[in-house]
């Protein structure tokens, strides 16, 4: 029998950080660093209906040189559990919108999504993994296969349970019947096996019971961690591991691709944000200093406008201006706060800011 001595490639596609409150027991950075240390091809961070950990994971992944996939785990009204992965900017946007939709519908801390909501993702290049728990509903698998053709898998999580072999057999049958491929996924809740006690404690807190009274609500062992590839090779058939890398290959979205995109309506045709800001500031200053603008003020305004131009913050000021103007027209009391109002060495208000009429107090820095 031919034994391969090379460790198989593996990408973990189902992983929760502690941004999934009271379920994940590790920081996103720790997960990323560990995955890198284990030689994973990629790690997907899939917190529950949230991208909250994405930024930290992104920064850590850049430091470690590990490809990071963004995604989310959601449990639908009918009980179906899915992992959605972003392949590109569009998928990321669609998944974000889905998260927002779900969160808005429910009380703070919860979310509510239906199969139809997820179905709307279908054309957006998002990938979907069905995560069956305990029993598989062939109808769910069929639905997924129909809505996400070519973009759907059944996730197989093997954690040394009492009937792993039978479970795998059953999943194979269903996959064959509905023509969905299988992929290995870890349902990872912590980066190291030794975080197990913390993870149990989180469960106890979530249920409001002492750990000793949680019974079967705890996991029976500590397998839901980022496992060594050697171990995974023993537990999973090689094609399921290979499939994780195939999926990771398709997910090329990185947060670096994002930048601020302001609405175009803020700036009239023919103007740039910079020129428009300069014009508005000039108007405001003229109104403030009818007898003539002091030299000191002019110099300050120039300095600040240069700074703003360097950082590209024009749209931000314009946005705030737009909001304040709206409020004033409606008679709503408002005060511009933050960097717009106090950008002049921290004492007093910014010249540009006052020029725009944003603060009631104007005291120019000496």
């Amino acid at each position: 029998m031919h034994m391969s001595f090379a460790l198989p490639g593996y990408a973990e596609l189902h992983c929760l950080s502690n941004f999934t409150f009271l379920r994940g027991a590790s920081h996103p950075e720790a997960l990323v660093e560990r995955a890198a240390a284990l030689g994973y091809d990629a790690l997907a961070l899939t917190d529950e209906c949230s991208f909250a950990g994405a930024v930290r994971a992104h920064l850590a992944a850049k430091r470690c040189g590990l490809p990071l996939i963004l995604g989310t785990e959601v449990r639908l009204d009918d009980g179906m559990k899915l992992v959605l992965l972003a392949t590109d900017r569009r998928a990321y946007g669609a998944i974000s919108a889905l998260i927002t939709l779900g969160r808005r519908r429910a009380k703070k801390g919860g979310y509510a999504l239906s199969a139809d909501d997820v179905g709307a993702l279908a054309g957006s290049h998002a990938l979907a993994l069905l995560v069956p728990e305990g029993r598989v509903d062939p109808a769910q698998a069929r639905w997924l296969a129909e809505r996400f053709p070519g973009n759907a898998w059944i996730a197989v999580a093997l954690h040394c349970g009492p009937e792993d072999r039978a479970w795998l057999g059953r999943l194979r049958e269903i996959a064959r019947a509905v023509k969905l491929p299988l992929v290995a996924a870890g349902d990872v809740h912590m980066h190291l096996r030794s975080r197990r006690r913390l993870q149990d404690t989180l469960t106890a807190i979530r249920l409001g019971r002492p750990v000793a009274h949680c019974g079967h609500a705890l996991y029976p062992n500590a397998e839901r961690h980022l496992r060594q590839r050697m171990r995974l090779a023993q537990l999973y058939p090689p094609e399921l591991l290979a499939e994780t890398c195939a999926i990771a290959e398709r997910c090329r979205f990185s947060l670096d691709a994002l930048r601020y995109e302001y609405p175009e309506e803020l700036v009239p045709k023919g103007e740039t944000p910079a020129s428009w800001l300069r014009w508005l500031t000039a108007q405001g200053l003229a109104w403030r200093f009818p007898q003539g603008i002091p030299d000191k003020v002019v110099q300050l305004v120039e300095h600040e406008l240069r700074l703003i131009a360097e950082l590209g913050y024009e749209p931000f000021f314009l946005t705030v201006h737009d909001i304040v103007g709206f409020a004033k027209r409606r008679g709503i009391l408002c005060q511009g706060r933050g960097s717009a109002a106090n950008s002049s060495s921290g004492s007093g208000s910014s010249a540009a800011g006052s020029g725009l009429g944003m603060t009631a107090t104007w005291r120019l820095a000496a």
């Binding site: 305990g134 954690h159 040394c160 349970g161 009492p162 009937e163 072999r165 197990r196 006690r197 149990d200 750990v211 000793a212 019974g215 079967h216 705890l218 029976p220 062992n221 500590a222 397998e223």
Partner: protein
């Protein structure tokens, strides 16, 4: 063996044996010994007498709540309201007579329409159970004057006048009697005849039970104790009946001369008050056990009464008897084999196999079993797990074991000091038995169950 109670160097009371030898109450001790050389004496213990009296009174409370004491040796029970329930005066009197005898006392019984009348009639020669006033008057008239007289002085006075019976007394003019002898005598008479009411303080049965009995001779065999204990248990039953209560446990204390007392706690599967049941349990507990030392006194204590209604005979038919029979069986088994030897089984949501089950007390009638999902589990658990031999890394049991399923990894219990980290396998040996075995991280193999 004849016995007498002594007080102030005189015989206060003696038993039939001594009486037959001529000993009488009031006799000096020297005279008594002359008549009965083997006479055994005990000092009079008024406190013990009072306790015994209260014990009888408590037992009587099962017939009526209106029981009062007539110290030093009398108890009065107002049973008018109970006559119908207990089948009439004669039947009731028979029950009382038998019951008091079973408690170990001999008594003179009388019944009358008035309390004082009944009391006086106990001094009559024959037992009287009278239900109407005229019969009462007749019976009272026949009484000797000693019964009524409260003081020697009055008796002497009356006898000097020639009044030897109550009838004669009744013949005397009232005013004269009152003037000569004081109002007390007339008052007694009036009360006895039912002319005047007699307020009495009713006895309240206590909320716990403690009664002791000194044995006439030291007892060396446990079974012989049962006779004495039976009396105490009957008393206990009476009290519980009176209070409409039952108990779940009681304490038997055996007093030894030189050793500390032996304490035996008997527990019941369900609350009860039947003396027969208590005695059965005691018999089982004592059977086959040798006593630490000869016993000279026994004591029974019980507190913590719980409400227990009377038996409704046969209302629920067989089902109720069936449950009763089951509880009795469990009690009997536990009394002989120990409480730990008999119990039920229950599930426990714990991943550690040795803790996935629990003992259930058999009285417990729990809700339906929750559906707890476990992997395939063996019908027999080998406790404690048995270490297996290993050859070349393969565990052995009548030959090398072949793994058919697994590993099922169970790592649990870090929170209570009984943490396990095991990989379980279903293995089969050459004689085809299916075994449940596990391996530990250090490498040892253990047998934990049999699928058969």
């Amino acid at each position: 063996m004849s016995w007498a109670i002594a007080e102030d160097r005189r015989v206060f009371a003696c038993d039939a044996q001594a009486e037959s030898l001529g000993v009488r109450a009031g006799m000096g001790l020297a005279a008594a010994w002359a008549l009965a050389p083997g006479l055994r004496l005990r000092a009079r213990d008024p406190a013990a007498e009072q306790a015994a009296l209260e014990g009888v009174a408590a037992w009587l409370c099962r017939f009526t709540p209106a029981v009062s004491l007539e110290p030093p040796h009398g108890v009065l029970a107002e049973v008018h309201g109970s006559l119908r329930r207990f089948g009439g005066l004669r039947v009731l009197a028979a029950q009382i007579r038998d019951g008091v005898a079973a408690l170990g006392f001999s008594a003179r019984l009388a019944a009358a329409p008035s309390a004082r009348g009944a009391w006086l009639l106990t001094f009559a020669e024959t037992e009287s159970l009278l239900e109407d006033v005229f019969a009462l008057r007749d019976a009272l008239e026949r009484l000797p004057i000693e019964a009524l007289c409260t003081s020697d002085e009055a008796r002497v006075l009356l006898s000097r006048v020639g009044v030897r019976s109550v009838r004669a007394l009744l013949g005397l003019p009232r005013a004269g009697v009152a003037r000569r002898l004081g109002p007390a005598l007339l008052e007694q008479l009036d009360r006895a005849l039912g002319r005047e009411p007699e307020p009495r303080r009713f006895f309240a049965p206590p909320e716990q039970f403690a009664a002791a009995l000194e044995l006439p001779a030291e007892v060396e065999h446990a079974e012989a104790l049962l006779f004495a204990l039976r009396r105490l248990l009957l008393q206990l039953e009476g009290l519980l009946s009176a209070r409409q209560s039952g108990i779940r446990q009681f304490l038997v204390v055996l007093g030894h001369r030189r050793l500390a007392p032996t304490r035996i706690e008997i527990g019941l599967a369900s609350p009860g008050r039947d003396a027969g049941r208590f005695l059965e349990l005691l018999r089982e507990r004592l059977s086959g056990h040798a006593l630490a030392a000869p016993v000279e006194a026994v004591r029974v204590e019980a507190d913590r009464f719980v409400p227990l209604a009377g038996k409704t005979a046969g209302l629920f038919g067989n089902a109720r008897e069936d449950v009763e029979a089951w509880h009795r069986l469990v009690e009997r088994l536990q009394a002989r084999l120990g409480e730990d030897a008999v119990h039920g089984l229950g599930l426990n949501p714990d991943y550690r196999p040795e803790r996935a089950w629990r003992c259930r007390p058999l009285g417990e009638d729990g809700p339906a079993m929750e559906n707890l999902a476990f992997g395939p589990r063996p019908l027999w658990l080998v406790e404690p797990p048995r270490a297996l031999e290993e050859r070349g890394g393969v565990p052995q049991q009548n030959g090398p074991l072949v793994m058919l399923a697994g590993p099922e990894r169970i790592e649990s219990g870090w929170w209570d000091g009984a943490e396990i980290k095991r990989d379980y396998f279903i293995a089969c040996s050459t004689n085809t038995a299916l075994l449940w075995i596990y391996r530990e991280p250090g490498g040892g193999w253990y047998l934990h169950g049999l699928f058969a």
